[in-house]
């Protein structure tokens, strides 16, 4: 059974149809990529999957529960986490604190017991710190732990966003262009990280423009064009799909081979 089922999803902004009657299923335990040219509606799709936008029509089911109508924090509680195309770091906080925010749903303390520093807080804080360290270690960010997020270079921040999302312990991780702006070494590192995350049992939904990365890392690929599905299949199928080649990817897909 699919982990995520999207059916007849539609969203428009004024006159612009960003997503049109889109359906697809994401099986569990895979890296599933969504590709398409600029403005194809990939980020809009992610925003609907995470509860930030509400679709005009259609349904989204995650682990057999409806997503539409829930707020982002409620979607997060279902087990969905994400990173953002334009970094959304907490620049006013340290690296460790950033990732500890990710542990929010795994802990309980409210404002009141925090204010009075009830004893169980110490235990919870220790646990959160440990979870955050683990998430940082997966992303090879151990050595930045004491630094302020605002002082880190772009490539590190891209991974820090992933560490923060992993601290949520999601079942599905949405990654919006994790390799954008990275150099070749960093991109290679990112590819390994995505595979590591997938092998740890987290399903990855990936949006990425770097075709080399997409073809190497994905189990299945969905191609979007003007918000609709152009093709869907394994990387080999996509690379040989006549419509995909003709439509726009052309040289780029073959180049990646």
């Amino acid at each position: 059974m699919a982990l995520l089922e999207v059916e007849a999803l539609t969203k428009s902004f004024g006159g612009v149809t960003a997503i049109a009657d889109l359906s697809f299923d994401v099986p569990p335990g895979q890296v599933y990529s969504v590709i398409g040219p600029n403005g194809a509606g990939k980020t809009t799709l992610f925003n609907m999957l995470s509860g930030i936008y509400h679709p005009d029509d259609g349904s989204i089911r995650f682990m057999d529960q409806g997503v539409v109508g829930r707020q982002p924090h409620q979607v997060a509680a279902l087990g969905v986490s994400r990173t953002f195309q334009n970094l959304q770091m907490f620049f006013n906080m340290s690296v460790l604190d950033n990732v500890m925010v990710g542990c929010h749903l795994r802990t309980r303390t409210g404002l009141f017991s925090a204010a009075l520093r009830l004893p169980r807080i110490k235990r919870e804080e220790k646990l959160s710190r440990q979870w955050a360290r683990e998430a940082l270690a997966i992303c090879h960010l151990d050595k930045f732990i004491g630094q302020e997020a605002g002082s880190l270079p772009y490539g590190v921040l891209k991974r820090l966003e992933i560490a923060r999302a992993l601290a949520v312990e999601p079942k599905l991780l949405l990654m919006d262009e994790p390799a954008a702006g990275l150099n070749d070494t960093e991109t290679l590192e990112m590819r390994k990280l995505i595979r590591r995350i997938c092998e740890s049992g987290i399903t990855v939904l990936l949006v990425e423009h770097n075709m080399g990365l997409v073809m190497q890392v994905s189990d299945r690929i969905l191609v979007l064009d003007y918000g609709s599905r152009l093709a869907e299949g394994t990387p080999v199928e996509i690379q040989n799909d006549r419509r995909v080649i003709e439509a726009y990817l052309g040289g780029e897909v073959q180049y990646a081979l």
Binding site: Q71, H73, A77, M89, D97, L116, R117, E125
Partner: protein
């Protein structure tokens, strides 16, 4: 216990001052006002410095606390402590009711809405003649007593305000360094990312707004019994701006910075006679200059400077060992 080292230092200063200078005007009279301002600044800083939600109407909640307690004790003969509790309850209710519509706004719009709230509450205080005494104010408010110990001297009020400030600072530090505090700082940094981490940002903002209002209300309750006379002027728009200036001067998102800012802005008018005529103008100038030259605030700016200096000395020492 390193977490509370700053609090211990603050406590020492608060305790030692009146012991060294028991009859000093600057300690027992100006000091009480400084402590009161510090309580208010710390509460506003939770909302503004940490959660990033500006309020230009914080004096309103200070006023609700003060007037509720003043009216209940003078007109209805309530016990002062019960009256302060009633003020807290009313403040909690009002702040909760306005928080939902107001905190949906951001930036300038939030500033305008809180400004409006402050003005409305102040107009109610001025216009509610029958109850509030109108622009002439309300006098004859009884003082508080604590376990049969009447707070009837400046020095006793100093202890009362000092203890309250230390309690409030302790609460603030606890909150900031907790799951809830991280949630507040996170929504300041990026609201959408905070939501995605599972934080109900609406609830978190409401929580800190109500908490800040409650602390201001408590300060108001103490203030009215300390002063025995209050008028709407103490709770107007200019006082809200003064509180914002304290937070900005000390350095947003620093609890000790807020205490420091409150101290400076309470002392300055005492030391400079010109202040009286140009008070609002000087606050405006301070705000402007801080924003341009030292946006992280005086306290935090100095703190960073000292830390950097210490670091340099430490790395210089390590360098010497390396050679």
């Amino acid at each position: 216990m390193r977490r509370l080292a700053g609090l211990c230092l603050l406590a020492t200063i608060v305790v030692v001052l009146p012991i060294l200078f028991p009859d000093n005007y600057y300690v027992t009279v100006v000091g009480v006002t400084a402590l009161l301002h510090a309580i208010l600044a710390v509460s506003l800083n939770l909302l503004m410095g940490y959660a990033g939600q500006i309020s230009l109407g914080h004096a309103a909640f200070f006023g609700i606390g003060a007037y509720t307690s003043a009216i209940l004790t003078t007109r209805y003969g309530w016990d002062p402590w019960a009256a302060i509790m009633a003020g807290l309850a009313l403040t909690g209710l009002v702040s909760f009711l306005v928080s939902r519509p107001i905190l949906r706004l951001k930036g300038h719009y939030l500033a305008m809405a809180t400004l409006g709230l402050g003005i409305i509450i102040n107009i109610i205080l001025v216009q509610g003649d029958q109850l509030t005494g109108g622009p002439d104010g309300l006098g004859g408010i009884p003082t508080l007593s604590l376990f049969g110990w009447a707070l009837d001297t400046d020095l006793r009020w100093y202890w009362m305000m000092g203890a309250t400030l230390l309690g409030v600072v302790w609460l603030a530090l606890n909150i900031i360094d907790s799951r809830s505090g991280r949630a507040l700082r996170a929504l300041h940094g990026s609201e959408v990312a905070a939501e995605m981490m599972g934080i109900n940002t609406t609830a978190a903002k409401t929580g800190v707004f109500v908490l800040a209002a409650l602390i201001a209300s408590l300060a108001g309750g103490l203030f009215c019994h300390q002063q025995s006379f209050i008028s709407p002027d103490s709770f107007n728009f200019f006082f809200s701006i003064e509180l914002v200036t304290m937070v900005v001067l000390g350095g947003m998102a620093s609890t000790y910075g807020a205490v420091f800012g409150a101290l400076i802005l309470t002392l300055l008018p005492e030391l400079l006679v010109v202040f009286e005529d140009f008070e609002v103008m000087i606050f405006g100038a301070i705000l402007m200059l801080m924003m341009i030259f030292l946006p992280q605030g005086l306290f935090v700016g100095l703190q960073n400077l000292v830390l950097r200096w210490l670091n340099r000395r430490r790395s210089a020492a390590f360098g010497a060992v390396g050679e």
